[in-house]
Amino acid sequence: MDTNIWRPILYLIGFMAFAGINAAYLGWCERKGAGRIQRRTGPMEVGFQGLLQPLADGLKLMSKQLLVPDGVDSILFRVAPILAMIPALTSMAVIPFAGNVQARAVELSVLLIFALASIGMMAVLLGGWASGNKYSLISAARSVSQNLAYEIPMLVTVITIVMLTGSMNLEEIAAAQQGGFWNWNIFPVASHSLAQAIIMPVSFIIFFICSVAETNRAPFDMAEAESELIAGHMTEYGSMGFGLFMMGEYLNMVVGACLITILFLGGWDGPLGLSGGIWWFLVKIYLLLFTVIWVRWTYPRTQIYKLLNLSWKILIPFSLVNLLLTAAFIKVF
């Protein structure tokens, strides 16, 4: 392992800048995308095509007072927004953007990322609980039950990938998929048996749905359902407290997209045998992020019961069957 201290520090600064720019400009992309889908233009006034809008929003949020209402748990209330950001930022450290572009090569990076994703849930739970507001508490309870339900199919699907690759290291998983899209885990015709090519697209869809649900994005945004819970766990937050929650949400989206890219879409590998590199990685994550935005502006929010039904009745059985079949195929062929 690299012992030079400067490498992780420089990479972390780079990733933090990347994360900050993403968190700000995904908000802009979201509003532009929503506008286009509804045949509006989206933000237009601040800068060319509203490109300075995230900056203006950030300045506005930072110049406001961080109000701590009476009756809240003042320590947890302040900790929760930070807890929304930190896990997502930390996950960035172990994500391999390209062959050697990784802040810290951790052997069990898959495990680390999923452990951090579970901490992200704590932010919603603490934020909701500390607010001392019944809507926030309902939101916290919902979000925990939702995250528990969706973490199971997600992890079961990851186990199938780990079984195929024989490694829990993200870099090795991506490296095993190099050499054209027929080697990618989403449709592994060449590297694995044909039967896998039928199972893996289903796994991909399950993983995608779960990652949307894990990041609390519409149509699974039960935690911040505006129309019923105002904004759920964010109700009592203003200024940068709210800003950190929003940035955390977008960062989690980026981490989710990176994970999908590495686990299923060959990481930095170019399709059709083109030379790979970090640009292919970026193209893939932004296509995925666009899809997440596209999904958000297509589907209405579901009910909490239907949401849990989808996970327990459809995604978990399907992912378990996938796991069993994958295990059987690995043993047989």
């Binding site: 995308g33 889908i37 045949r39 509006r40 233009t41 237009m44 596209w294 297509t298 589907y299 009745k313």
Partner: protein
């Protein structure tokens, strides 16, 4: 079991239909206008406040100062005056004020006018914090339109 499978397949299909609809909308042209920068053309039958019509031959208002509009107005928001210039037979309009604060845009004045001298304008950009700004001098407006 078959119900479960058809539920899953039917559900996935309807989700794809939804996605395809929004994808198509995404590439269609924008329908909204950037209002203060792009001022839309108002339709011909828009009922703005009333305005005087110019007589194309003489270049003066068609109005003959009969006062029918003033009398027909249920809110009494029209006040007009006229006098006969030296050496002419007809009266000429000297004042035509519309108090838009009480006008309900009913159009009775336009119906009552036998000479087709007033019509609804296309004016919709009206905003002010002072009441006096809504007492329009329609004769002056016509002259300014030149």
């Amino acid at each position: 079991m078959s119900e479960y499978i058809s539920d899953v397949i039917g559900g996935s299909k309807s989700l794809l239909v939804g996605l395809s609809i929004t994808a198509r909308e995404f590439f269609k042209p924008v329908v909204t206008e950037q209002y203060p920068w792009v001022v839309p053309e108002m339709t011909e039958r828009f009922r703005g406040h009333i305005e005087l019509i110019r007589d194309e031959k003489t270049g003066k208002p068609k109005c003959i100062v009969c006062g029918m509009c003033m009398r027909s107005c249920p809110s009494g928001c029209i006040s007009l005056a006229g006098k006969k210039p030296e050496g002419e037979k007809k009266k000429a309009l000297t004042k035509y004020h519309l108090d838009f604060t009480t006008c309900s845009l009913c159009g009775t004045c336009i119906e009552s006018c036998n000479f087709g001298a007033i019509q609804f304008s296309n004016e919709y950009n009206l905003a002010s914090t002072r009441k006096e700004d809504y007492i329009f001098d329609l004769l002056k407006r016509l002259e300014e339109q030149g």
